[in-house]
Symmetry: C2
Subunit: 405 residues, 2 copies
Amino acid sequence: MKTKKIVILGAGYGGLMTATRLQKAIGVNEAEIVLVNKNDYHYETTWLHEASAGTLHHDRVRYDIRSVIDSHKVGFIQDSVVEVKTSEKLVILENGEISYDYLVIALGGESETFGIQGLKEYAFSISNVNSARQIRGHIEYQFATYQTEVEKKDERLTIVVGGAGFTGIEFLGELANRIPELCKEYDVDFQKVRLICVEAAPTALPGFDPELVSYAVSHLEKKGVEFKIGTAIKECTPDGIIVAKGENETEEIKAGTVVWAAGVRGNAVIEKSGIEAMRGRVKVQPDLRAPGHDDIFVIGDSSLVINEEINRPYPPTAQIAMQQGEIVAKNLVSLIRNNPHLETFKPDIKGTVCSLGEDDAIGVVYGKKLVGTKASIMKKVIDNRALLMIGGPSLVLKKGKFKLL
Amino acid sequence: MKTKKIVILGAGYGGLMTATRLQKAIGVNEAEIVLVNKNDYHYETTWLHEASAGTLHHDRVRYDIRSVIDSHKVGFIQDSVVEVKTSEKLVILENGEISYDYLVIALGGESETFGIQGLKEYAFSISNVNSARQIRGHIEYQFATYQTEVEKKDERLTIVVGGAGFTGIEFLGELANRIPELCKEYDVDFQKVRLICVEAAPTALPGFDPELVSYAVSHLEKKGVEFKIGTAIKECTPDGIIVAKGENETEEIKAGTVVWAAGVRGNAVIEKSGIEAMRGRVKVQPDLRAPGHDDIFVIGDSSLVINEEINRPYPPTAQIAMQQGEIVAKNLVSLIRNNPHLETFKPDIKGTVCSLGEDDAIGVVYGKKLVGTKASIMKKVIDNRALLMIGGPSLVLKKGKFKLL
């Protein structure tokens, strides 16, 4: 009997967890495992807002994939996925193709712009190491340019963050800490800088405990963030954004930098491959396989899992992606060992902490509400936990966050 | 008898040397001295190429003016000079005006674009702390953006330096050292980067010893610089430059960054004030006063002093500006003490060293040719000497260059 070939697409939280759990669980000759990823590094998506604001160097948010995979058991291909030809059990890559017996699609999400004009062209999004580095560079360049111009354009110093969800709020927290440093670095008057958060929903951090939300908003406001809640962005232009104002009116907010942090959809490869999905997200079966595709697992931001208590999808998080990776690894072991019993995925939400910068946060951990330093320490513990689960203690020592207080 | 009022415009090498020598030479009540400068800091013009390349932080190239002037003897006004009304003995500032009995114009030079189209709009110039910081930021932003684009634009990684004079060559030396660091920082392939120097004259560093010039060019070429000598820039565009090729043809060189480092003219205030000048530079009398204005001294980049040995003007340098400042301070003391004898300025060229980066240089010092490490050490000694002459040993300790080897 031919050795089965397992192909894992993507080395984010879900894909890398699948690969590292799988390499522990099976013997060298039990299956052929191939991991495909665009870069030769994994990055911490949940830390990208720090690299984008410039409060953490981007090399601190990534590590070499080869440092956590066992090359005797897992082959690595650095390439981009173009499409999956499901009927031929074939993955088309930019520079080749690869066949599979079992496929894990863990390609991550993409920014969802909800059809708002100009966002793709003129707004940045906190998507990966490259874009984070670019946002940091762009903001610095605006500050650097301000003082060179005879006629000062104050809008250069305005940063609009679209979305007061998790990413938006965490990015604002970092920016609020970074701005005073930038002002000093570039001889800019702090009073000239504006940090504006625009959110269409009637509240910041929808779904979060209202008491915690109010803590977050007031603490960020004290650091200079202006919130425009219940305000929809109508259009993004080279000069800033246009927002709705009342019934029929609009207002222009000029801004040198617009960062869109308000939506995640599934990966375009899903739809291109003809796998049934809603906004690119596959409503997976309890064992995390795609409906109608018993050889394909979908996990992470491209998967959709319903929280039956409230009959709404769980928000895509690193926590869920990693837990899915663990289950998929187990289920793949079962499949290659011809064990018909596959495990069912059930998220175990230990807690959610939203950072408000280096020194402040809000969160719910094991049902307990936390704010300030305590929450901030918990956030770093959670960040380190992801490293521990994928790369073990040595990775925590190399890339962990230890400035706890 | 009313106390005489001496106004010094500009706190560059010449102006600050005048002020610091003057405050040592005269008593508190002998004259009123006022120093006017746009910024509250002095910057080392001759180090700006390092800040522009990103090899030295811009805070290392500047220091607080108040740290070197004696506030009991010299008043400081932070403002920009608009015009001098010579007949009224009045200086018009952006936010006020100030009368004088004796005036020292030490406002520095401006970039000379020789009427080349587009240079003002699309090229950067290494003029001051603000522009240096912007050049550094711009280049970093090009590297940061490169990796975010699906279709790679290699021209983002092309830097054109217009001019192979002193500033152009020193900037190229720093860039050649900085580029490998930038490639690492932004995951960019070194082979994709181009550093191009375009010079209209038939040689790099015209006026320098040919043997030293050839050392400089070959050492920079080894580090990846491409020289286009005897090539005139015809136009600068948003996409790069257009150069002459043969008799009637032109060639486009696409480049994300164009830095113009090829010419200095006098300050626009000179011409605006109706003082006789050539390209904004005043051919001063032997005692450094402007012809026809016995109450106005002009020093530094806005002054023109002929080297009678070769019947050509001395190139404007920090060395000459500082020596002029010393003479002007002496002559001002004579004038306020009603001593009719004014000293004559005679440049004492101790040496000229052109840096090729942190670790390499060429130069002639006391008539001796130097290359490599020896020249590089001499360069730093010269840099420290400027600090010593203006601010004494404490300034050298604070801002000096000590990484001699």
